[in-house]
Symmetry: none
Subunit: 249 residues, 2 copies
Amino acid sequence: MLKRERQAYIVHQVNLHNKVLSTSLSSEIDVSEDTIRRDLQELSENGKLIKVHGGALSHSFHDITYPSKKVYAKNNKRIIAEKAVKLIKDGMFVLTGGGTTIIELARCLPLNLSATFISGSIPAVVEYMHHPNIDVIVIGDKLSKNSKITLGADALARIKTLKPDLCFLGINAIDIEHGITDNDWDVVQLKQSMIASSQKVICLTIAEKINTIQPIHVTDLSEIDILITELPNDHPILQPFVAAGITVM
Amino acid sequence: MLKRERQAYIVHQVNLHNKVLSTSLSSEIDVSEDTIRRDLQELSENGKLIKVHGGALSHSFHDITYPSKKVYAKNNKRIIAEKAVKLIKDGMFVLTGGGTTIIELARCLPLNLSATFISGSIPAVVEYMHHPNIDVIVIGDKLSKNSKITLGADALARIKTLKPDLCFLGINAIDIEHGITDNDWDVVQLKQSMIASSQKVICLTIAEKINTIQPIHVTDLSEIDILITELPNDHPILQPFVAAGITVM
DNA sequence: GCAGGTTTTGCAGGTTTTTACAAGGAATGT
DNA sequence: ACATTCCTTGTAAAAACCTGCAAAACCTGC
């Protein structure tokens, strides 16, 4: 990997996550920590980030006060994303929905991963677009301002023509009896279509949404292959899903 | 292998993979690394890529290149954008391409304008998305990393089904004799399709691109309705276009 | 066609950049 | 206070770079 390329990656990571650790960068990029330190030093001199003991912080981080609850939820999504990333292998076709968890997943994609991502979520597409080795296919249609994803007949039709290896879905409610539920008719249509097309369906959700119900039924648990939460996979709340034949991570 | 041929290959590789190594190019093309270095040097001076220690990076790594940009060009684009905005009326369907001028246009849209914008440019879509009263239709297809717009048969087919009121096109070269020209085959296809579909075609360009030529022909001047530059509309350089029947602003 | 100039390329040399490792000192956390 | 982690400094080797030069290929005007 080229030096400038590496530094661009570091700057990108800092801007996304507001902090980076020298150790994790070192193992991610596979260079010595000395090199990372020298990079951070240099980028710091150029004002790209703030170097601190153990890593670096983003400039915008300075202004941020500590809203402890928000940071907590974000960390959870980060944990989920890091588990999810492990499932993606080189060359795969991956279909993703929208939502903050999916964005976090997009930000955690390793630099050397080369795969094709398909999505109608504009924020997700923007993240994929910045990744050097990922091909992006945009699902077009009318853009929903709320969810920032494209919704409509065109999007549905396009998804029906695909057979992606994986489908990552951020979900709003999951329950052992009612399966996956949601509260937006058009989004539900889209999710159903995505589930039907994909070889393997992976649901991402924070634990607080487990055993909650929303008004519209998306799919039964039988259609779900993997469920990822921030909890360890032997947590009691997850056991009913394991019993239902879902792989829990 | 000829020098120009070799350099074209290098540019192609950079656009494809976002980076190239001097060593691998040297063995691929079977010339000395010195020659590759000289090529990279030259291409870098022509702005085709960014030369770095060990190889070169594509411009999409722009994050790392330190700010030495002239505000001059940006101000010009702002002037153009403000002229262009006046053409858009409530309820119109507007098709737009990509490029920095179009982004500037997107940022200048008045808050109370309610219209429908159609685009395959991700940065433009992001801008439209933040506007309260604008409906956005995203043109989907494979995302080109360089131009950050969707390109391909799907995009072309979708545009053919539309009949937008206006089409705003950022152009790279315009000449009284050769009309509009460009340098990317796929982008040209898209622009041609956009022009053919639209009721009214409005070209945006900074004055320095007037009377320049690029290798691929997009369209004749007869297809253009309005040309917008940062110059006053009685500027001598614009008069040939007025004489050709184009409204100049 | 051919003398005189330019362009292109590879090579030899010396210089700079980049990187990993090592060892001792500073910061951090329990 | 202690162990751990992280930082600094120095070193050395590899890689990449630059400079100048000369051979080859090429244009050009007569």
